[in-house]
Subunit: 123 residues, 2 copies
DNA sequence: ACTGTAAATAGTAATCGTTACTATTTAGAG
DNA sequence: CTCTAAATAGTAACGATTACTATTTACAGT
């Protein structure tokens, strides 16, 4: 992968973002430094950075993909009313943390990602 | 909510599906019973059923929303190559189960859903 | 049963996040 | 300095989902 100032800036913006911005939000922020950057460039670089494992994707409920630059192991709380995503770093004390934050938990989803048996064997 | 044969059939199809079908797949299956049902009707009813808590949404990586009629508490394994979603019901023995299934786990995501503090207070 | 109504539907058009395409620019190896 | 393939800007296209509208339908009140 060749270096590019566009990709560097996308990564820099994401690493310094505390929210979980969408491609469009990242585009607006990068434009402050590189005014003529293309939205397609942002999408392509987000895809590459994700493939390289330098950023992660956070699913939301607003039909947009949200990105995250913080690779530290943590979980998310997603408000179904306002769609705000909260980071929770104290995995082991989840019930207590939510009590302290004042959030009402209604459900939970856990997904494991990887390669299934068939895909490991074929090729 | 008024009853409708369309909604009943959408729910019936989903309850008897072992995969995790998309709106389009559900549409095709319901058409066998109700040939002139509209895709929009399927989408609207899936939304209503989800609001009522009768079905759940499974995020995938193919940009489509997948639905599930099985409300039993379980987690998912998502293959990043073929996008197949596997149900895992033995939560407590996760590493062992994946060993047995032959799946290679690379990462994990946990999300809690609910109402955040601000949304609980405002209104 | 009959009627009024608001909800639900079928069919179609519109939306919008994302991807594809193309001519041009650019990084970096030789 | 040159060559070449990767990266880019700008724009067009795509496709899953949602919105819209005239018509149908469930069902509560008579």
């Amino acid at each position: 992968m060749r270096s590019s100032k566009q990709r560097d800036e996308v990564l820099k913006v994401l690493k310094s973002s505390c929210d979980h911005p969408t491609a469009d939000m990242i585009y607006e922020r990068v434009k402050e430094k590189i005014p003529n950057i293309s939205l397609g460039t942002v999408y392509r670089n987000l895809g590459q950075l994700h493939d390289e494992g330098l950023i992660t994707i956070v699913e939301s409920s607003d039909k947009k993909v949200h990105y995250e630059g913080n690779l530290e192991d943590h979980i998310h709380f997603l408000c179904k009313k306002c769609d705000v995503i909260t980071d929770i770093f104290h995995k082991n004390e989840v019930p207590k943390v939510f009590d302290n934050l004042g959030h009402l938990v209604e459900s939970q989803k856990t997904v494991y990602y990887g390669i299934c048996k068939d895909c490991r064997n074929n090729i």
